[in-house]
């Protein structure tokens, strides 16, 4: 089964850091296929996309996960729309800093609009919320962040992605969320 996972969030929230760290971790576990593709500007900001493919085998059933980031800068909005096409699951990387509160919210609203254009409803979509940069001195309380940025009451993960903290847990949760919410043909209680 081929799945597409996209990390979205505001500019400098840590999307690329997450995906690069995840690639390093999974590569060490021999769970990636090939190299990571990076298309960034001279200032190491994402221009178009960063992506890699991970392969996970459960009971002989292979899950091939294409992991991508969207560019965070506002001027690159048209490219974000392109990356989101056909996405199976999302990771919403939230910058915990209080000063980024408004920008985080704008990205959430914009992402909902992009998905709507594709006929999807963000509120019913497999999402994991990652509260990144928990080590910042002005980091908002998780309770406050939950009220503002987790309208799904989805799984959330506190993280310091630059140190690898919470990176793998986020990935694990988004896989579960996709399989439970989107790809389960039938559920038996």
């Amino acid at each position: 089964m081929k799945l597409k996972v996209v990390y979205f969030g505001s500019s400098l929230a840590g999307k690329s850091t997450n995906v690069k760290k995840l690639y390093e971790i999974l590569r060490a576990k021999s769970m990636v296929k090939g190299d990571m593709v990076v298309m960034e500007t001279e200032e190491q900001r994402t221009l178009f996309v960063e992506m890699f493919i991970s392969s996970i085998n459960i009971d002989g059933y292979e899950f091939e996960l294409k992991v991508l980031t969207t560019p965070g800068q506002f001027r690159l909005h048209p490219l974000r729309k392109v990356i989101m096409k056909g996405v199976d699951g999302l990771v919403f990387v939230v910058d915990s800093s209080r000063e980024r509160e408004k920008v985080n919210f704008l990205v959430l609203r914009e992402t909902a609009a992009v998905l709507k254009e594709q006929g999807e409803d963000l509120m019913r979509f497999p999402v994991v919320v990652q509260y990144n940069k928990r080590d910042l001195p002005d980091a908002m309380d998780i309770e406050d962040l939950q009220v503002r940025f987790n309208p799904w009451d989805a799984d959330y993960v506190p993280a310091v992605a630059i140190g690898g903290e919470g990176v793998l847990e986020t990935f694990q949760k988004v896989i579960k969320s996709i399989l439970v919410r989107k790809y389960a043909g039938h559920t038996h209680i």
Binding site: I53, I58, I83, F171, V180, I189
Partner: protein, 163 residues
């Protein structure tokens, strides 16, 4: 709670027809690669020197990405629906054509093949593909029954994310 995970694919008859059309296009254009993807960059079928591997997966994502970016540019410029995107290098050319309802046909050809010829045969192939894909049905190809708790434990064991 038990999950019944089902993987779907295009039915085998349609798949064979698609493969035959792509193979014919390879032969007529001497293409190194002929690839049919969906608009999200998932490979439906690939023919030529490359097989369905990691590099091809990236190629498929970028084919759908650059075409999608061109579509967005077209919207800003109020262009009509984008049909074909083409770019040239010293050694090879790439032509990407939209296939209804939501597919892309990507062809990578050597410089020795005239682009006019490529586009002519791509038009022929795209007409056939649209006809074939119109009747395509998605059929279940694999199934995995697993309890949610068990799934979580397996993922935890394999990935070790919650360690």
């Amino acid at each position: 709670m038990e999950l019944d995970l089902i993987e779907y694919d295009i039915d085998s008859t349609v798949k064979k027809q698609v493969e035959a059309i792509l193979q014919k296009l390879v032969e007529k254009t001497s293409a190194g690669v002929v690839m049919l993807t969906d608009d999200a960059g998932r490979i439906v079928s690939i023919k030529g020197k490359k097989q369905e591997d990691t590099e091809s997966e990236f190629l498929a994502t970028l084919i759908s990405g650059v075409f999608g970016a061109a579509v967005e540019m077209g919207k800003i410029l109020s262009m009509d629906q984008l049909e074909v995107l083409q770019y040239e290098s010293k050694s090879m050319d790439v032509v990407i054509k939209f296939i209804k309802p939501r597919f892309l046909l990507g062809v990578i050809v050597p410089k020795s093949t005239a682009l006019g010829t490529v586009r002519l045969f791509m038009k022929e192939a795209s007409d056939s593909l649209e006809k074939v894909l119109e009747g395509a049905k998605m059929v279940p190809v694999r199934e995995l029954k697993i309890d949610i708790k068990e799934l979580e434990e397996r993922l935890n064991r394999i990935l070790g994310g919650s360690e």
